[in-house]
């Protein structure tokens, strides 16, 4: 009833989505927090080079190894070493590098991998999944079985194998994570297109004489892109966690490499003597991941017509 009435209202028209989003933000400030956090992490990543030199991670300050001179936090641990000198707000790591600076250098590394993986997975998934669903038959079967094969292996195992075989470099890492990720998008896009192509407007376009590619790429895919974008937003966090986990278990190009999981890895050995070393990089990962997840959840609510009242 209310649905009917709203549809008929020309005044709510195109601004309905925007207005609804504002309404949601008002109702649910957590979503707003998600948007702020993800925006902030992207901004920090973009400004990283201005804040800290991008070669900072390669310097070693032997005298400042594992020290804490921030008076604000007392760790209550017997052997915390105060190195004096410049204040390191989050302490230093094994190589005497300031942890705060390292985190700032590491954020763009993680985000870049995540964005690359998610964007490529979305493109591959949408095209393959869309074609599979629209064409059906043998094409569908082949694409579907291919995803089955990749989905039968836990992603992290496949990534380990790839990194071992192809070498521990960032491009290999990105590829390895992408290889474990694309099948999900094929499945998602396929199911979206499958239900969308049953809609009457597709039938109408066929009757009009529109060609298959035109219907698929100009009409169906633009109409199914939102769930895929939402999944992409949610997956930024998950990809960052996977990448950092792979780095954490030691599949890094360089032990000093500025990546949040790798920073945490150094900390695990000193977990009882220098707990900040694992605490802050992990916390950064948590915050970024929560940010994107909250944002994704919020956008999903915006575009879920059934939740609207």
């Amino acid at each position: 009833m209310a649905e009917e009435a709203r549809n008929r209202n020309s005044r709510t028209g195109r601004w309905a989505d925007v207005r609804y989003m504002l309404h949601l933000f008002r109702q649910n400030p957590i979503v707003l927090a998600g948007a702020v956090i993800s925006a902030a992490s992207v901004i920090i990543a973009l400004m990283s080079g201005l804040l800290v030199s991008s070669t900072y991670w390669n310097h070693i300050t032997p005298g400042a190894s594992l020290c804490w001179n921030n008076q604000l936090i007392d760790w209550h641990i017997a052997n915390v070493f105060n190195c004096g000198g410049p204040v390191y707000p989050l302490g230093t790591d094994l190589y005497g590098r300031g942890l705060l600076q390292m985190i700032i250098v590491a954020i763009p590394v993680d985000l870049q991998i995540a964005f690359e993986v998610v964007a490529s997975a979305m493109i591959i998934g949408t095209v393959l999944g869309g074609v599979a669903a629209y064409m059906g038959g043998v094409v569908d079967e082949i694409i579907l079985r291919a995803t089955d094969i990749f989905l039968a292996v836990p992603g992290i195992l496949l990534a380990i194998v790839l990194l071992v075989v192809l070498g521990r470099t960032i491009p290999v890492l990105t590829t390895a994570v992408l290889i474990t990720w694309w099948p999900f998008y094929v499945r998602l896009a396929r199911s979206q297109v499958l239900s969308e192509k049953e809609k009457l407007y597709v039938e109408r376009l066929k009757a009009t004489g529109a060609s298959g590619p035109r219907i698929l790429f100009r009409h169906i895919i633009p109409n199914t892109i939102y769930p895929i974008l939402i999944q992409g937003t949610l997956d930024i966090g998950a990809v960052i966690l996977t990448v950092s986990a792979l780095m954490f278990i030691g599949l890094t190009p360089d032990p000093k490499y500025p990546e949040l999981g790798n920073l945490a890895k150094q900390g695990i050995q000193y977990i009882f003597t220098a707990p900040w070393m694992i605490l802050f990089p992990g916390l950064t990962l948590l915050i970024i991941s929560v940010g994107f997840n909250l944002l994704g959840d919020g956008i999903r609510d915006v575009f879920d017509p059934r939740l609207r009242r």
């Binding site: 009833m1 209310a2 009917e4 709203r6 008929r8 209202n9 709510t12 609804y20 609207r308 009242r309």
Partner: protein
């Protein structure tokens, strides 16, 4: 007919106002609805989509969604005000007094539960409430004392002891409930009811599903049956079957029926009185023959003229201009005035009251004000 008209009201709704709070704004769905349903009558509630006919029935059953706000009004069912009741009291009313039948039996029946499970749960959740009826029904089935098999005689003894206050076992209640439900399914002319109990809704045809839904209502022996677009999703031949069933049932049960529909032909077929709704108001209320032969409200006139008829040769369609208003921004005064061919100066300013212009014929239109 006359005896019915003199009978007292079973349901009385007065000045009911309901607003839905949506993110886009407030939808003023009901704008002061006044309606009475008499004992034993079939009242047709007609109107187009969004006129508030379904909202009215949901309000009576206490099933409005959480974003609906009851701004004013009273709903009196057999003397008790429903709107003043607690959630639990309204639930009890739904269990025993008010039953609803909905449009699309496919989506309204739970797909993963058997028909039997969905029918029996009504009784088994509070067996005490139904026990006397179950026992009475079974005793009637067994018949008076005579030369029956000893098993039946023993059963009669057991039943009599229950009716004197004895406590039956769980199994006994379930058996009685099953027998009771089977006879209700028979009452809605469903072939092979025993088998239907163990079937899932998707295994039944549309007409059978609708009969199951009607049986769910009848099991409770309700005082008021709200049938919301009961035949809309059905094919004409099945619709004819259901309408015939409805005509037969009204002689067998003593419930008042409110038939909510957009189809004036269905109303003409089974109703005693008709209320026409438009944009949240009752605009006209009259006996069925009176309404069809002498409609007063311009909307009713337009509506009747715009129905294509199967019993007359080709004519050019007459239609009401414009479309149903958006209730986020309802028209002022009489809500029909923007589409009304007879609108005049006062119409946008004054909301016309529902007044009786002829005996038993009420209309809400400024044209008929003295």
């Amino acid at each position: 007919m006359t005896a019915r008209e003199e009978a007292g009201p079973i349901l009385k709704i007065s000045d009911l106002r309901v607003t839905f709070h949506t993110y886009a704004g407030d939808v003023k769905a009901l704008n002061g609805v006044d309606l009475t349903v008499r004992k034993g009558e079939v009242l047709g509630l007609v109107g187009e989509s969004g006129c508030g006919k379904s909202v009215t029935s949901l309000a009576v059953a206490g099933l409005l969604p959480p974003n609906a706000e009851l701004e004013s009004g009273t709903i009196t069912l057999a003397g008790a005000d429903i709107l003043k009741m607690s959630r639990e009291e309204i639930r009890q009313k739904r269990l025993t007094d008010i039953a609803m039948v909905f449009q699309d039996p496919m989506t309204y029946l739970n797909p993963v539960l058997t028909v039997g499970s969905q029918l029996l749960e009504i009784i088994t959740q509070e067996p005490k409430l139904f026990l006397p009826a179950l026992v009475r029904h079974r005793l009637e089935e067994i018949g008076p004392e005579g030369k029956e098999a000893p098993a039946l005689a023993a059963e009669r003894e057991r039943l009599l002891s229950i009716s004197r206050g004895g406590r039956p076992g769980r199994k006994e209640v379930e058996r009685l409930a099953r027998q009771y439900v089977v006879s209700t399914l028979r009452q809605v002319r469903l072939p092979d009811p025993e088998k239907v109990l163990d079937m899932y809704p998707f295994e039944l045809s549309g007409g059978m599903r609708q009969r199951v839904m009607i049986a769910m209502a009848l099991v409770r022996r309700p005082k008021l049956l709200l049938a919301d677009e009961m035949t809309t999703a059905l094919d004409v031949t099945v619709q004819a079957q259901i309408l015939q069933l409805l005509r037969e049932l009204r002689k067998e049960i003593d419930a008042s029926i409110v038939l909510i529909t957009h189809d004036l032909a269905v109303v003409a077929e089974v109703c005693d009185r008709v209320a026409v709704m438009y944009a949240g108001n009752i605009v006209e209320l009259a006996g069925v023959e009176e309404l069809y032969s002498d409609p007063l409200h311009p909307y009713t006139k337009g509506l009747l003229a715009s129905i294509p008829r199967v019993d007359s040769a080709r004519t050019r369609q007459v239609s009401i201009g414009g479309s149903v208003p958006n209730l986020l921004f309802p028209p002022s005064g009489c809500r029909f005035h923007p589409r009304c061919p007879k609108a005049f100066g006062k119409c946008p300013q004054v909301k016309p009251p529902l007044v009786e212009v002829k005996p038993g014929h009420l209309v809400a239109c400024l044209l008929y004000e003295e």
